[in-house]
């Protein structure tokens, strides 16, 4: 979401159109607007408007008075704010590193070191869990991680966990959420990365081979640099989705009858503030923090990776 907004903003300066060939241009423009309209209306209704409303809420109190940055100061001083953002930071670092490294490595292996038939079977297998809806996949993991009912209880026990409550100890939570996120999300990205690798012309790889580059050298110096924009794109989307972590801790919290902190992630904190304390303004302030973090993260990745450079070339 945030990445797309950033993209729209950056491509805007390319808009000015020369006056010549006026009529055909306008026709094309009309059709274009029509095609874009569907998305634009939905974006306005469910993306821009809620964001503006959240900003309005975050700058006012429940009496509608303007409060400046006081809501932000209030939520930062809340005892749950620091732990929630620390939790999400640890989770994001683990999740992004593992996602980037493993999806790229797996995609390179599938593309270059495996027979096409076997490779497509593996891509299909990796993708299957992603077809499961979010809540269902969390429930699957609740069973997988409970030594009492898990089909892999031997493995869970071997890792030193005798009971479910030992598995969901606070220090294990980031790992558990990364596991769930990787299991559901990585398959789709492996397929995307594989597609990106397919776009690299065979001649380039052949030339590298003739120059004496082995499979790892051509992966490191040719393939990965050539799909770096895709990696940046994946990182932006995974980063944005990762900061929004909500369903996993929320479900685990209720399934374990409260053995998790109900405000483990910032989104849960916003949820609790809004719906338990009736503090929609404070909740909006938390969500603005998430928005800013997402925008800054996306901005850095977009500028550093030259993700949108292709537009001007």
């Amino acid at each position: 979401m945030t990445a797309l907004n950033g993209g729209g903003r950056l491509t805007a300066p390319a808009a000015p159109s020369p006056a010549r060939r006026r009529t055909p241009r306008r026709r094309a423009g009309l059709a274009g607007y029509l095609f874009v309209a569907g998305y634009a209306i939905l974006l306005l209704a469910f993306g821009i408007f809620p964001t503006v409303y959240a900003i309005y809420l975050a700058l006012t109190n429940d009496r509608g008075q303007f409060t400046g940055l006081n809501q932000f100061v209030k939520v930062v001083q809340d005892y749950r704010f620091g732990p929630a953002f620390t939790n999400i930071l640890i989770y994001l670092v683990m999740w992004l590193v593992i996602l980037v490294v493993l999806t790229v490595v797996v995609a390179v292996i599938l593309r270059s070191r495996m027979k096409p038939g076997l490779s497509s079977i593996f891509r299909f297998l990796f993708y299957i869990p992603g077809a499961l809806a979010g809540v269902a996949s969390v429930l699957v993991w609740l069973f997988m991680l409970d030594p009492g009912v898990s089909p892999a209880s031997g493995l869970v026990n071997a890792l030193g966990f005798g009971t479910f409550s030992q598995v969901i100890a606070p220090q294990n939570l980031p790992v558990i959420f990364v596991l769930i996120a990787f299991w559901t999300g990585a398959g789709g990205w492996i397929v995307v990365m594989y597609g990106a690798l397919n776009n690299i012309p065979d001649e380039i790889l052949e030339a590298a081979r003739m120059d004496g580059a082995g499979p790892w050298k051509s992966a490191w110096f040719i393939q990965i640099p050539m799909i770096s924009k895709w990696i940046a794109y994946m990182t932006i989307l995974a980063f944005a989705a990762g900061t929004q972590l909500f369903v996993e801790p929320q479900l685990l919290q209720s399934a374990s009858l409260g053995r998790l902190n109900p405000t483990w992630s910032p989104n849960q904190l916003a949820y609790v503030l809004a719906f338990q304390f009736g503090d929609f303004n404070g909740a909006a302030a938390v969500s603005i923090f998430l928005l800013v973090i997402g925008l800054v993260g996306a901005g850095i990745l977009v500028t550093r990776s030259g993700l949108f450079k292709a537009d001007t070339e």
Binding site: N61, D62, G68, V149, T163, S165, S254, G258, F275, Q276
Partner: protein, 459 residues
């Protein structure tokens, strides 16, 4: 916006930027100077309430948990003319905030409220107050709808969680007084006597650990175990000394004595730190449960329903006392309430079903939990289906315990389960003792209490 598209030289670009930044920061400063406070409005419960336009034919919506659903369906069956829309939800159990979440939203949209809800006592603390300055408190004062003689017939203290500012905002469905549960068959087989004091309980734990290793005298891993043990010990963990002042004093001897006792029994494994609904616990530990300190619903729900202990084995004894203390005290684990919406368009029908659910012999006499309405409790105890599961008559233990529930454990605006479940239980799982976890538990309760606006004392 337009100025940015005009080509500028490097220096003038910087000048424009600087001017823009100055303007923005100036406007922020100006804006901040006139800022209002970010604190939420505090609202006080209104004594009366404005009734909605009444319609005696309006359908009423009833929200109940799955346990009370059959009771609502039975009402529909015995009152075919009543127009009900029955909705099942989690009943606010285990610290769930579903009901509160929904009412917050209904208060903002101005419609959608259920007419009658089953809820936990904690819910009354927010339902008796408006959630926003413009809203009306969700719960209607039932003392203006139900006769005072009916209200007077509820068990002593059972309506305390319903009371606020001199009004009663709910009718108690059941009480969950903590009694001493034991497996009579195993006790007879092993030749043990049922402890009457906590010291005897601890001593029995040491003996069981030595002679019958693997058997347990209880567990502390449930989200409500602190209510069974620390409430019974009269620990001032949630003690409202004034309506807005909460005393959280986990260093009090009433808390530390229970922590020390449980630590010694956890150490010799005569008390389990697992949760009673855990699949592993039910499979491996449940058949070796010699005793349990728990509420009146443990009999049917935990032993009969959860552990599938055969009938004729389980019995209940009076709550244990501390040696040297003359009067007994016990805890309370749950016990639901029924609230009527102040927004109901058909208060007569809503009141009728609420009274039937909480006070009628037809419903409460065969209810799954111990009735809070004293006349119905007598019928309940006399009902053979409530006694035939047990090895001996549980009436005496139940009635004694019902009168001994310690009133110093207050009904607060936040659930007492959150800190216990999310701070203490993970620490126990990690091998820490209760005694060394008490400060962390205290800190978590204090944080929660301050967040909902209590003044906290820790002495």
């Amino acid at each position: 916006m337009k100025s940015l598209t005009v080509p500028l030289s490097g220096t003038s670009q910087r000048r424009v930027l600087r001017a823009a930044l100055t303007a923005v920061s100036l406007s922020v400063v100006v804006a901040l100077a006139g800022c209002a406070s970010a604190t939420q409005s505090t609202s006080t419960g209104a004594a009366g309430f404005t009734k909605a336009a009444q319609d005696s034919k309006a359908t009423i919506t009833v929200w109940a948990d799955s346990t009370r659903l059959p009771a609502v369906q039975a009402y529909q069956k015995s009152h075919p003319n009543a127009k009900l829309n029955i909705v099942t939800y989690d009943g606010s159990a285990d610290g769930s905030t579903y009901l509160q979440t929904k009412i917050q939203l209904f208060d903002r949209t101005g419609k959608g409220w259920p007419d009658v809800v089953f809820a936990s006592p904690t819910d009354v603390t927010w339902a008796s107050n408006p959630t926003t300055p413009s809203a009306q408190a969700f719960a209607a004062p039932v003392d203006q709808l139900v006769s005072s003689s009916t209200i007077g017939n509820f068990a002593k203290g059972s309506l305390t969680p319903c009371e606020y500012n001199g009004h009663t905002y709910c009718l108690r469905n059941d009480i969950a007084q903590v009694v001493t549960w034991y497996n009579k068959t195993l006790f007879d087989q092993f030749g043990y006597t049922v402890p009457t004091t906590w010291e005897q309980y601890q001593a029995l734990g040491a003996q069981v650990a030595k002679d019958h290793s693997g058997y347990v005298l209880g567990w502390v891993g449930d989200s409500n175990s602190h209510e069974s043990y620390f409430w019974s010990s009269q620990c001032p963990a949630f003690n409202l000394v004034k309506p807005d002042t909460l005393r959280v004093a986990l260093s009090a001897p009433e808390c530390t004595r229970m922590a020390t006792l449980l630590d010694s029994m956890i150490a010799n494994k005569s008390i389990s730190t697992q949760a009673s609904n855990n699949a592993d616990f039910i499979k491996n530990v449940a058949p070796k449960v010699l005793m349990a300190v728990g509420p009146s619903w443990y009999g049917q729900y935990i032993f009969n329903g959860g552990f599938k202990t055969p009938a004729g084995q389980i019995a209940a004894a009076n709550p244990m006392t501390w040696s040297g203390e003359s009067s007994g005290a016990t805890g309370n684990v749950g016990g639901g309430v029924w609230m009527i919406s102040s927004h109901s368009k058909n208060l007569a029908a809503a009141t009728a079903i609420t009274e039937w659910l909480t006070t009628s012999d037809a419903n409460q006499g065969s209810a799954p939990t111990y009735p809070a309405y004293t006349p119905a409790a007598k019928v309940w105890l006399a009902n053979p289906t409530n006694s035939q599961y047990f090895a001996s008559d549980v009436s005496e233990a139940f009635t004694t315990a019902a009168n001994e529930v310690w009133t110093g454990w207050s009904n607060t605006k936040f659930s007492d389960a959150t800190a216990w479940s999310s701070v203490v239980l993970p620490a126990l799982t990690a091998g820490k003792t209760l005694t060394e976890t008490l400060p962390a538990w205290q800190a978590a309760i204090v944080d929660e209490a301050k967040a909902v606006g209590y003044t906290v004392t820790t002495k």
